[in-house]
Each structure stands twice: as C-alpha cells, then as structure tokens.
Amino acid sequence: MKKKFGITLMALLLVAALGGCAGGKNPEDKSSEASNTTAESSAPGQQSVDPNASKDAKYGGKVVVGVQQDIDSLDPHKATAAGTKEILFNIFEGLLKVNENGSLICAVASDYSVSEDGLTYTFTLRDNVKFHNGNNVTAEDVKYSLERASGLLDGTPLISSLKTLKSVDIVDEHTVQVTTESANLELIYSFTTAIIPKGSGEAEGSNPIGTGPFSFVSYKPQEGLVVKKNPYYWQEGLPYLDEVNFKIVSGADSALLELKGHSIDLYSYLTDSQAAELANDYQILAAPSDALQALFLNNAEAPFTDVRVRQAVCYAMDRDLANEFVTGGNSAIISAPMLPTLKDYYEDLNGIYGTGANVEKAKQLLTEAGYPNGIEFSVKVPSNYEAHVQTAEVLADQMKAANINLKIELVDWNTWLEDVYKGRKYVATLCAITSDMTPSYLMVRFQSGHGKNFINFASTAYDEAYQKAEKSMKLDEKAGFYKQAEKIFVEEAGTAFIQDPPITIALNKDLAGYKFYPIYVQDMSTVYFTNK
C-alpha cells in the first residue's frame, strides 16, 4: 500500500481516494454491482482485463449507446457538461484515470510521486503510449496539455482546479514535474485532465485526438458521436468493440420506444417503471448514482427562515414513499449532503427525522413556529427531469396530511438555472445535486456566503466544522469533522434531502463486461459481445 509513498498523510488520503499505481488490492474497495471483480492495479504494460471475460468474450461488434444530452464541446478541457464528460472518457485520458472503484490508476503516467511539502508532483510517463494518430505521447505533449488546461499558456485557466499550478517542467523524455502554489490533498484528482497532442488546441479544424481506448470518428449535432477502436491503446486486450455510437435520444419517452425497437444497446438513466417494462428484453443493472435528490429550501425566504418550519418539512416528508413510487424502492434514503458511497465520510443520519412521515411532530413544530394552520409554498421543479416531477407529486400528496401544501411549478431547465440556482429567487425547489469523488464537493457550498450556496444556508457552527475538515491533514480527523458538519446541517434542517436514486441501465442481452463508476462516465472499453 505504501510502497511508493513515504508520506503518511498522503497515503491516509489515498486510502479512500486514490489507488496507487502499483499498489495491491484495496481493502476498502467496494464492488460495483455490474462487475464482480475489482480491477487489478496495473503495472506498466500489464493487462487489466476482467478475468471472467476471457472465457466468452468476443472481439468486434458495434454498439449504440443512448445518451440524453448533446455534446457541449469536443475540447476535453472546455467540456463542462456531465453528459459530455461521460462520452469523452472513452477518447481522452489524463496522466491518471479514475477506475470503477473511484480509485485513481495510472494512465499516461506509469508512476508518480509527490514531494513532502505537497507542492511538487513528479510523473513518469508510460512507454509507448500512443495518440490516436499513431504518435507517441511525449513529455512535450504532457507539458502542453497541463499548461493549456491550467492557464499557464494564455492566462485563462480552462480547468479551475488546476489554476494553482505554478509550472510544468520537463525533467527528461519520460519525466514531467509539476509545481503548485499551495498544497492540496485533493489536487491529485485534477491530473485526470486529458493529455492532447501539442498544439492541437490551436490547429484549425483539428479532430479530437487523445489516448483513450476509442478514437473519434464523427460527431453530428443532435444525432450523436461515433468512436472506433483505438488499436494503439496501451491496455492490451482492450477495448473489445470496434465501434461505439453515442446516440442522442430526444427524451425518456422516445428512448423507451427506441429501446423497444432495439435501436439502442445500452441506455442509462431509466426510471423504475421503464426498467420494469424492459425487464424481458434487456439486462437491467443498477448502481448508486452520484446524485442527491432533495427538496431544497431557501433559508432566506419565509417561512423557511425559521428552523422549526424546515424541520417540520423534514419530519413530514415520507422518503420511503417517494423511494417506493419513483425508484421502486431502490434508492438509498439520505439526510445529509454526502454520497453514501463515500463511506469514510458518510454518516447515516436518517434517524434524526426518520424515513417515514412523522405528521404529529411536523404539525407540532409548525404550530410552535406560528403556523397552526399549516403552510403553503411553491416548489419549482425542472420539467425535463421526470423523476423530480414525480417525486414532487408524491410529496405534494403525502405532505398534505401535515398541513404542508406544495404548489408545484414546472420550469424549463435554463429558467431553473437562471432563476433558482443563480438568482435564488425561489422558496423551495426539488432537484438533485451531483458530486464527484471528493467529500468537499458537496459540503463546500453550504458555507455561509459561498457562491454556490443557493439555499442560503447560514450556520457558523457548520462553517467552523467544514473549515476544520478542509484543513485537516489526517483522514480520521478529516472524516470526523465532515461528519460533524453533516450532523449540524441535518439538525439545522438546511434542506430536506430525500434519496440517492440509483442509475438503472438497460443492456443488450448479448453484451457483458459493463462497469459502473461512482462518477458519471460510460466506460465502453470493457464491454464486449458474449459468444452466445
């Protein structure tokens, strides 16, 4: 585990967050439901193939993957939409790469080390990694990519977490050294930033070229993006498929029709009832998602300025019912802003308000807060998310019992972004926020006055706990502070979290090898047609 790194604090963090490049099996790894194997950490040049796969795996074939959102950019450094990153994951790789366990593995780099002060990162490049155009990846390319993404090239950082980079230096042909302004344990994740050929960001009309398992073939707005097998891929034996077509479908309803017509081989984000409808024709797989659904309450708007009213809402809410109706009971009920999959940091706080409805308690709190006749408020729901609309409908019906009347107001997504998320002009909204693998991602925003604190949550206790967690250099301690912050947040009833809905996918019965990731990507490199 600690073979390569002498730095304890680094390792402590990495236990949860990083897999070392040459480490052994990670005891903390959770297995994803789709693949019952844990990836072997890959030594340079070593194969990393599902052992079960070799038996019936077949090379070749074309697969159509239904995706919901159109590509926002083909530039891996500029793309921001989750829906784009999910596809570009197959084309681009960074020095490091996330695996299905959420651990970091080496990709373009074969090894790396961090200086004791945490300010210098040294990456050793893997031999013979080739771009899709057949050129070898050189230190120059790595330097160019990192400088471009961090803004060292032209002053505008494209990836904001990299803006602390001070310099990228080529030590020798195979070694690149990166220095930063300040030490940050979570910075290592940013080295998943795509490595692209030197100068490709400027060249006129250049196609996206990366080092990923698939290479870019074509993209048509509204239709989709096609990729083909990268013959030079450094992980031998991967990928299996010859061609993957990421096809954009216009909506959940047409996706269902297309699935029924077998125009799509793989589709994620099924609703529970859609999954039930497809159960005969497809393999249905599910795993926890990276999204937390909540009834967000605007702490700066009456009646939610009063903590008792917020608590009343939490008590009155029947999360079990929402889970049952909307996700068929497959969600994880949550109360705090932390993904349950981040086990080290997650604290089960469902006991505070209970998962069912506590009508009496809710009524009592409302009366105390001066609302003996109950409250009525408008809930803005983005209309393109059917699951949220349905959840809102369930809650509206169920919370009436506690004299809490939700008036659902559907808004289009951009209006939601503008008015609710940015403008904070709302009383309550039902939506979800997504997380990445860092615990701070969700927690940072609830500090008083934070730019992303769209619920206007304000608690000095929370702020203190969070800041301690952020500064802490010890995992246990860090986790402790995070948990403390979570508890404060839940007790203050900053917002009424509901559930972590599962990702449910439909997979062609002839396909296997699909891996779920704790982040939002579709890794097609391990998917193969079975011999059946």
Binding site: D70, I71, D72, S73, L74, D75, T80, A81, T156, S160, S200, G201, E202, A203, E204, G205, S206, N207, P208, Y219, K220, P221, Q222, E223, V249, S250, G251, S254, A255, L257, E258, K260, G261, H262, S263, I264, N384, D412, W413, N414, T415, L417, E418, D419, Y421, K422, G423, I433, T434, G451, K452
Partner: protein
C-alpha cells in the same frame, strides 16, 4: 414587376420584424447560452470568460446590428452550442444544411402520400352516391382530423414499430448513409404527418368537386354526351383542384417549416427538432436563422402558390 417588387419588400419587412421579435424574446427569457453551457458549474469568472468568447458582453443593440449585418452579408454565424470539431463551433449554415434534407425529405414523402391518397379518395367520395359510404368517410375523416399529432405519432410507432415490427423506432438511417434506408424509415413519420392532412384534403376536394358539379359547364359537358366518369375527371376535377392547390400549398408551407412534434416522436434530426433544442439551450444564432427560414418558407410558398394559381387558372393569368 411592381407585384414582384412589392412581394419582395413585404418579405424583407417581415423577415426584419421577425428577427427583431426573436432577438427581443431572447433578451426577455431567463437564462442564456452561458448558463446553459456551464450549468451548475458556473462561476462568475468562467461565465464572464465564456461571454466574452461568444461576444455576449456587448450591448444588445450592437449585438443585434452586428448579427444582422453579418446575415445580410451571407454570414449566418456559428452556433453557440454545437461544436464542429475541437476548436471550432458549428457554422449555422452547415448545421441547418445538415438537418434540412431530413425535413425536406419528410415533407416530400408526406406530400406524395397526401397527393396519392387524398386526391383519388376525394374524387371517389364526390362521385360515390352511397349514403352509407358517405357517412363512413365523413366520420372517418373527422376522426382522423381529431387525433392529436403526437398521439398519432405514438400510435404509429406502437403499431408499425413495436407490434408489426415494420421499422425500428428511433432507428433512423442518415440519408448520407443510405438514401433508401432513410426513405424507408421516413415513411412512417410521413404517415403520421399525412393522415390528418389526407383527411382534410379529401374533404376539401370532395366539397370543391360537389360545388363544381353544380356548375353550368358540367351540364354543358353532359349535353355533349360525355360520360359521368369523363365529366368527373376531365371537367370537374380540374376546376375543383384550383382551391385545393391553395390548400395544399398551405400544407407544404406547414410541413417544410418543420414538423416539430413528429420529428420529436420519431427522433428525426430535422429542423423542427433542432429548433426546439436550440430554444431550450438558448442557442441564439441557430434559432434566429431557423425562424427566418420558417418565415421565408411560409411567405415564399404562399407566393409560389399564388403564382402557380395564376399559371394554372387561365382566368387570373390573363385578366
């Protein structure tokens, strides 16, 4: 000449009006392309950078006239939202040029279906003296006109796609890959577009023929010893088609402007679908050009119908 000049001036005025309205609409509706692209990841710095990149930091009036100037020079600009490749956004011309054939093909197929079915049906109906059949056709066409278009689309998909498996829903084949494969798929959306229009056209033609049948010249034709069939096809139909041509022209304009609902249901990458998604992503350059295109098509098709009418109806052309 004056007629033509007047029409062109009218067209330009309308296009200008429409473009201003669309621009104003974009000023009013919440959210812009920057919010749309950055989503919940937005930070003020990034927003500003993106805004600058897209030229959205200029005052609205400047932006409008800069845009209008470009359009007049034939430069339709680039989409805010869709990339062509890693470093370049998709030019609106290319984007629409890519989607337009789908819509046009769908329109052509629908029009063929309408013409091939509605005209014989209308003639048959007008000539039929069977009252029961009249009731059946009347009720049938009324029903066809009463079905909501997206319900019809779903029904067609369900019936032909899922139950009969004559086509695979969503399995649209690009016209670039295989023209006939594309046509084969487009037949079914075309059916959905055509059914209510067939009903309308058949009813219209039938009524027009019945009206014409009462004309004096029909009596004259009979007095020459012409058979009923000859009178129907040779004399009545031609005159009855005159108003139907106008009606068909309106349908052409409607379909060529994009069948939003049908394109959505059948996942056709046509301009109707492009318009919807561009509105929801606030992709102003694309929406503007699409709206201008629709206006242009509607006005020009009406104009052509007018001209066609003058060509085929000797009474107007020589007056």
């Amino acid at each position: 000449m004056k007629y033509l000049v007047k029409k062109i001036v009218t067209l330009i005025m309308t296009l200008f009006l429409v473009s201003v309205l669309a621009f104003l609409a974009f000023q009013i509706i919440p959210g812009d392309v920057v919010t749309s692209i950055l989503g919940t990841e937005a930070t003020p710095e990034r927003e500003e950078a993106l805004r600058k990149e897209l030229g959205l930091d200029k005052p609205p009036v400047v932006r409008y006239f800069r845009w209008a100037g470009d359009v007049i020079r034939g430069d339709f600009g680039e989409s805010y939202r869709y990339s062509k490749n890693m470093n370049q956004m998709m030019p609106v011309k290319e984007l629409i040029g890519d989607k337009l054939p789908v819509t046009l093909l769908l329109a052509a197929l629908s029009m063929i279906l309408i013409a091939v079915i509605a005209i014989p049906l209308g003639v048959f109906w007008a000539r039929s003296k069977n009252r029961f059949l009249d009731v059946v056709l009347n009720m049938g066409t009324q029903t066809a006109m009463a079905v909501p278009s997206f319900f019809l689309g779903v029904l067609v998909t369900y019936l032909f796609g899922i139950l009969l498996k004559w086509f695979s829903p969503g399995g649209y084949v690009s016209y670039k890959e295989s023209f006939w494969g594309c046509v084969r798929y487009l037949v079914f959306p075309a059916i959905s577009v055509a059914i209510p229009k067939i009903a309308m056209t058949a009813r219209f033609l039938r009524n027009s023929m019945l009206t014409e049948s009462g004309s004096d010249y029909v009596r004259t034709a009979y007095s020459k010893g012409a058979s009923e069939r000859r009178v129907a096809y040779f004399h009545v139909l031609r005159n009855a088609m005159m108003p139907v041509v106008t009606f068909l022209g309106m349908i052409v304009a409607e379909i060529v402007a994009g069948s939003i609902v049908v394109e959505q249901v059948f996942s056709l990458p046509g301009i109707g679908k492009l318009l919807i998604s561009s509105i929801s992503t606030r992709d102003f350059p694309v929406v503007e050009i699409l709206i201008l295109y629709i206006t242009f098509v509607v006005i020009v098709v009406y104009f052509l119908v007018d001209v066609l009418y003058r060509v085929i109806d000797p009474r107007i052309s020589n007056k």
